[in-house]
Symmetry: C2
């Protein structure tokens, strides 16, 4: 076991979903709370309660600004948790929510966000069955923070685990990357940059269900690449599965606006957060069927097979360029985009 | 239906658990998120998933200071959620947690609170199976906020509802009131007041289980009187059940230190938050057996029958003095003790 460096104080990067987050979780949280379910470090925890497999997921939301093109903290808080359940192979059945409100927040803003939450939940076919509200003094929160908890019933046709991933498997991505992160960045108005772009915040359940109906036995692993982006999600998979994930740079769906903003800002789109996309590892023989199923769902036309699993170099993600070159794709380090969700 | 006053802006009282909280929930949250489970407004939501009754509960914690005599935010976040499940008649099986950390928080404080959470969870026999961590800029949170989500299996011997409460039923209270609220108030060091007192933060599961084993069919309703205190919990019951709850002032367990602090500060102990006590309405014929069971659990010796249910005046809580007088006990109005949990 590696010796973890002690954490002197919390920095923004500890919340960014990249290397520092992993260090916080593996160095402080896992050793204290150690149990077999927690140690899977998946987006949702799988519980067997009296013979029935359930998935539960918890997410905090501190996005800034509270509302942005394509969504707001209320809808994001629903989609984020519903999506963690979806990529764990679970159909959401109920949500709960806790609110931390700053004294002085306008009633109008609160109503708008509760309404956004309600509309998103209805569209996902799930009820918000309970919650809790706390108020802190003005200046002790940034408007409002939301935590959402979700519970879902696991699709028994699926057995998802990094351990099931094999060389030869294909990497499926549901659509263009980086829309959410770049939208938030631009919405802050701190950059002299504008683009016609909006967050991809949406429910992934319809896509995952269609894919499962078409190719359940071929699906090895799923993840929604939020904080840390596609690069971090695939690096965690490569490490946990002991494989190499090779992606083809040309195959990755990416909007010109996101590509342009990333070039100007010196960011790698593979590190930018998404809130309405998922990655799936699918067996080679069922990859085409899975892809077709996702493409046939409204909003899924840009889905693509973006790469494959190789045996070596293990625990590595590489990107192959159209000219035959390759580069190693690392996890996110530091936090170029704080409070993205 | 009453017309609700619109909320112009959020004030501390909206988080205090009293009248303003009720107005926020009934005026803004319920209308938007409307569904039958949410509308029960109980501490935990009861779900039937494929034939099995589960209870789920969500709580936010913003207590200030983070640590205090008898506990800290980490242990409080476990006990608070475990207790919401317990008074809903459920045995906790798993917890999840989200952390909002302020940049600059010391690693030592974080480790201490994760450890407190881990120890409390172990003592409650429940695993923390997952969670999420977010970091906000320095000044955008007060050290750390925690949300905890719990899932439990409902004890099928129980049928709890305000609708089951009948005139003649007894009111059982598990121990002395106000310890938590007064401890927090004194721990802030803003008052020229000291007292040998500590928070009652603890798991209620052993007490509730013992009581159910002794008198399950007699138990009509349970609640842990946290924010808003015993007065608010009983007022909500009186309203929901359409009954009068009459309590005997002399029968209520109360430490001299809490009584003294309340007298000096002009507070009613019935409005002060508790984190390790519960109220139960028990049928008259099983009340003695229930009380004896609670008293036989370590820490339960001070439990008492503190009153009874009357038919009228409906939707009212009255307190009877030893001299034959009565006074109406109202819900908490305003927020004398912000950020108590």
């Amino acid at each position: 076991m590696k010796t973890q460096r002690r954490i002197e104080q919390i920095e923004m990067a500890h919340g960014a979903g990249g290397k520092a987050s992993r260090r916080l979780i593996e160095g402080v949280i896992l050793p204290a709370l150690a149990n077999p379910v927690l140690e899977t470090l998946s987006d949702a925890a799988l519980l067997t309660i009296e013979g029935r497999r359930l998935a539960v997921s918890a997410d905090g939301f501190v996005v800034k600004p509270l509302s942005f093109p394509g969504g707001s903290i209320g809808s994001l808080a629903v989609h984020g948790t519903v999506n963690d359940l979806a990529v764990s192979g679970a159909r959401p059945v109920a949500l709960m929510t806790t609110l931390v409100l700053e004294a002085g927040l306008s009633g109008e803003t609160l109503e708008r966000e509760i309404d956004a939450m309600a509309r998103a939940a209805r569209a996902c076919g799930v009820d918000v069955v309970g919650g809790d509200t706390k108020v802190v003094e003005h200046g002790m929160a940034d408007g409002m923070y939301i935590s959402t908890f979700g519970i879902g019933v696991v699709d028994e046709r699926l057995t998802l685990s990094p351990r099931n991933v094999r060389p030869g498997d294909r990497v499926l991505l549901s659509g263009p990357i980086g829309d959410h992160g770049i939208t938030i960045l631009l919405a802050r108005g701190e950059l002299e940059l504008e683009a016609e772009i909006e967050s991809d915040s949406r429910s992934l359940t319809p896509f995952v269900e269609a894919m499962c109906n078409a190719a359940a036995t071929g699906i090895r692993w799923m993840r929604d690449p939020t904080r840390g982006g596609v690069a971090t999600a695939l690096n965690e998979l490569a490490r946990d599965a002991g494989v190499c994930v090779a992606i083809d740079e040309d195959a990755i769906p990416l909007r010109d606006e996101v590509r342009g903003a990333c070039e100007i800002l010196g960011l790698d789109p593979l590190h930018i957060a998404n809130e309405g996309q998922f990655l799936a590892i699918v067996s080679n023989d069922q990859a085409d069927r899975a892809l077709e199923a996702v493409r046939n769902v409204a909003g899924g036309a840009a889905a693509a097979v973006i790469g494959e699993v190789l045996a070596a170099p293990a625990a590595t993600v590489i990107s192959r360029t159209p000219y035959g070159g390759t580069r190693v794709v690392d996890m996110l380090v530091g936090d170029p985009l704080p409070r993205i969700c």
